[in-house]
C-alpha cells in the first residue's frame, strides 16, 4: 500500500515538514527534521527507481481524479533518477550545513533556513515528479521563492543583490515557461503532459505549438542558466550561504534541464522539436558557446567560488549538448553528466565551504598554499577539478566519454573536437587552483595546518569518493542514464 503512494509521499513529506519546523521554532530540531526528511526522500526515491524498470511508468492520481482531469504524478526511469539526485544531494549536504548555517545565517534565523530548505527540496522534487505542466510551474515557483530567500541569507550584502537579480530573471523565466504552457494548453485543451503529447499530433495549426516550444525553451533556459541566459548564476552561487551553494549547484539547474528534456522528448516529441524545428541546432550552438565562454570566464576569476560557478555555466553546456544531439546516446550522455556534474559540483562547493570556514574567504590570494594548510581538502578539490576536466578515473570522464561517443556516432567530429578542446580550458582553470594551492606559499597570518571540522569535511569527502567511485565504475550511472534516455525517447504516449 505504501509503495503505491511513494510518488506523492516524496513530495509531501518535505511540504509537511517545512511548516512543522516553523511551528517548533528551533534550529537544531529543524536541522534534524530536514535531515530525516531528506534521508527518507532518498530512500523512497531509490524504491521508486527500483520499481520503474518493472512497471515502466508509475502513475499517481492526486485526489483520485483520473488523469487527464486531475493532476497526475508520472514517474519513469528519467525523473526517478533526477529525484534521487536531488534528495541524495540534500541528504549529504545537510550534515555539513549545521555548522556553516549557524555561522553564516545566525542562530535566530536558523529554523527559518531549514524550513526554506525543505520548501526548496519539496519544489525541486515536485518539478521532477509531477506529470502536469502547470504543476511544474507551481513547484518551480515554490522552489524559486525559497531559493531567493536562501540566497539572500548569504554572508555579505552582495548576496542580496545576487538574490534580487536571480528573482528578476527567475521570475521572467518561470513566466515565459507558463506562457509557453498556456499556448500549448490553448491548442490542446489539456495540461497533462502525457495527454498533451497524445493530442499534439492532431493539432493542425502548428504556429502556437512552435511558439510554445520557443517560450518554454527560453523560460527553462533562464532557470537552467543556459548560455547566454546565465547572468544570474555566478553571483547567486558565489554569495549564497555555503550549504545553499552546494545544494543548488548540484540540483537546481539540473531540474530545469530535466523539464526541457521532458517537454522536448515526451511532450512535443523529438520529430517535431528536433526534426521539423531547429531546436537542436540552436541548442547545440548555445551549448558550444557555453562550453567555451563559461570555461573561459572561469579561468580569469580571482575567487575560487566564482570560478566554480562559471565552470557550472560551461558544464551545463555539456548537458544541453547531449540533449541537442537528439539521440539515445546523446541523452544518455546528458543524463549521465547531469548526475556526475551534480555530484562533482556538490563535492566542490562543500569543500570550498570548508575552506571559507577556516580561511575566512576563497579569493585566490587567501587560498595560496592550501595544499599545506588544508592538505586533505585541497587534494579533494583537485580530484573534483579532475572530474571537471574529465580525467579518466573520475565521474566527469564517464559522461564526457558518453558525449564524445554520441557525437562521433552521429558523425559530428567537430563537436567532439570542441568538447575535448573545452576540457583543456577546464584544465587551465583547475590548474590555476593547483598552482595556487601547491606552488605558492600561504599568505601571512594563515592558520596552522589543519582541516575544516569533520561535519563539513566528511560529507564533502563522501561526495568526492562518489566522484571517484563512479569514475572507476561508471556502469551503474551510465546504465541508469541509458534507461532514463530510452524512457525519454519512448515518450509518454
Amino acid at each position: 500500500m505504501l509503495l503505491a503512494h511513494l510518488p506523492i509521499l516524496i513530495v509531501v513529506l518535505p511540504l509537511v515538514a517545512a511548516p512543522l519546523v516553523v511551528l517548533v521554532r528551533h534550529g537544531g530540531v529543524g536541522w534534524a527534521v530536514a535531515l530525516g526528511v531528506s534521508a527518507a526522500s532518498t530512500a523512497m526515491s531509490v524504491a521508486v527507481l527500483a520499481e520503474v524498470p518493472g512497471t515502466g511508468v508509475l502513475s499517481y492520481a492526486i485526489g483520485s481524479w483520473e488523469p487527464p482531469w486531475g493532476i497526475e504524478y508520472r514517474i519513469d526511469a528519467g525523473n526517478a533518477l533526477v529525484a534521487l539526485l536531488v534528495s541524495a544531494v540534500a541528504t549529504i549536504v545537510l550534515p555539513a550545513a549545521k555548522r556553516t548555517v549557524l555561522l553564516e545565517v545566525g542562530a535566530d534565523r536558523e529554523y527559518l533556513f531549514y524550513a526554506l530548505f525543505l520548501l526548496c527540496l519539496c519544489g525541486l522534487l515536485g518539478i521532477a515528479l509531477t506529470g502536469d505542466a502547470f504543476n511544474v510551474f507551481v513547484f518551480l515557483e515554490i522552489s524559486s521563492l525559497a531559493t531567493y530567500a536562501l540566497i539572500a541569507l548569504g554572508r555579505d550584502r552582495r548576496a542580496l543583490t545576487a538574490a534580487y537579480q536571480y528573482l528578476l530573471l527567475g521570475t521572467i523565466g518561470a513566466t515565459l515557461y507558463v506562457i509557453g504552457v498556456g499556448l500549448l494548453y490553448l491548442v490542446t485543451g489539456t495540461l497533462n503532459f502525457a495527454d498533451m503529447a497524445q493530442r499534439l499530433p492532431a493539432v493542425v495549426d502548428r504556429r502556437p505549438v512552435i511558439a510554445g516550444l520557443a517560450f518554454i525553451t527560453v523560460g527553462m533556459g533562464l532557470k537552467a542558466a543556459i548560455f547566454p541566459l546565465h547572468a544570474w548564476l555566478p553571483n547567486a552561487y558565489a554569495h549564497a550561504p555555503s550549504a545553499v551553494s552546494a545544494f543548488l549547484a548540484a540540483t537546481a539547474t539540473k531540474v530545469s534541464l530535466y523539464v526541457m528534456m521532458r517537454v522536448y522528448y515526451s511532450v512535443i516529441g523529438a520529430p517535431t522539436a528536433f526534426g521539423a524545428e531547429p531546436t537542436g541546432a540552436i541548442l547545440m550552438a548555445l551549448s558550444i558557446a557555453a562550453l567555451l565562454v563559461g570555461s573561459g570566464a572561469a579561468i580569469v576569476q580571482r575567487d575560487l567560488r566564482l570560478m566554480l560557478a562559471f565552470s557550472s555555466v560551461g558544464q551545463i553546456g555539456y548537458i544541453t549538448l547531449g540533449i541537442s544531439l537528439a539521440s539515445a546516446a546523446g541523452m544518455t550522455a546528458a543524463m549521465a553528466h547531469l548526475i556526475n556534474h551534480g555530484l562533482t559540483k556538490g563535492a566542490l562547493f562543500l569543500l570550498v565551504a570548508g575552506v571559507a570556514l577556516r580561511l575566512g574567504g576563497t579569493r585566490f590570494e587567501q587560498i595560496a598554499g592550501l595544499g599545506r594548510t588544508m592538505p586533505i581538502t585541497s587534494f579533494a578539490i583537485v580530484i573534483g577539478g579532475l572530474s571537471l576536466i574529465g580525467v579518466p578515473g573520475t565521474a566527469g570522464f564517464a559522461s564526457k566519454w558518453a558525449l564524445v561517443v554520441a557525437a562521433i556516432g552521429a558523425g559530428l567530429w567537430w563537436v567532439a573536437a570542441i568538447v575535448l578542446a573545452s576540457s583543456l580550458l577546464a584544465l587551465a582553470y583547475v590548474w590555476k587552483f593547483v598552482e595556487a594551492a601547491y606552488l605558492s606559499a600561504p599568505p601571512a597570518g594563515a592558520p596552522a595546518r589543519g582541516e575544516a571540522p569533520a561535519d563539513v569535511t566528511v560529507p564533502a569527502l563522501v561526495l568526492t569518493a562518489a566522484v571517484v567511485a563512479f569514475g572507476l565504475h561508471a556502469t551503474p550511472v551510465l546504465e541508469a542514464s541509458s534507461r532514463a534516455a530510452s524512457a525519454f525517447l519512448r515518450g509518454w504516449p
Partner: protein, 144 residues
C-alpha cells in the same frame, strides 16, 4: 493619526464587519464566489486597518509575530493534513471522496477544511508581509 476620533470610531465599526464579511466569504465559498484566499486577505486587511489606525505596536500586541508565523505554518499543515487524511482513509493524497461515507459529502468536507487552511495561511502571510515592511520602513526612516 491615532488621535483622530473619527477614524478610531469608524474603524472600530468597520473591523468587526470586515471580519464577519470574511467569514461569510469563507463559508459561502463552496456555493458562490468566495473562498479561503479571499477571506484570508479580508481578515488580514482588517488587521492592517487596525494597525494603521492604532499603530503597529497595538497590532503587534493583538496579533503577535509568533502567532502570525504559527498561522502561516498551521494553514499549510491543515491543508496537507486533509491530503494525508485522504491517504490514511485508504484513498490517494487529497482524496476527498473517502472523507465521508457519501462521496459527495466527502467532497464538501474536504473542500471546507482545505479552505480553512488556505484562509489561515493567507491571512498569516499577508500580515507577515505587512509587519515586515512596516517594521523595516520605520526603523530606516527614524535614522537621520
Amino acid at each position: 493619526m491615532n488621535r483622530d476620533i473619527i477614524l478610531r470610531v469608524v474603524s472600530k465599526l468597520l473591523i468587526p464587519i470586515a471580519l464577519i464579511f470574511a467569514l461569510y466569504v469563507q463559508f459561502h465559498g463552496e456555493l458562490g464566489p468566495g473562498g479561503g484566499f479571499q477571506a484570508g486577505v479580508i481578515i488580514a486587511a482588517a488587521m492592517v486597518l487596525h494597525a494603521l489606525i492604532f499603530g503597529l505596536a497595538a497590532a503587534r500586541a493583538l496579533v503577535p509575530e509568533w502567532l502570525v508565523e504559527t498561522m502561516v505554518a498551521l494553514g499549510v499543515l491543515v491543508y496537507a493534513g486533509v491530503g494525508v487524511a485522504g491517504l490514511l482513509l485508504g484513498g490517494n493524497f487529497l482524496d476527498y471522496f473517502v472523507l465521508a461515507r457519501d462521496p459527495a459529502y466527502g467532497q464538501m468536507r474536504g473542500i471546507f477544511w482545505v479552505e480553512v487552511g488556505v484562509a489561515i495561511s493567507v491571512s498569516g502571510v499577508m500580515l507577515k508581509i505587512f509587519y515586515v515592511f512596516a517594521g523595516r520602513g520605520r526603523a530606516l526612516d527614524d535614522k537621520p
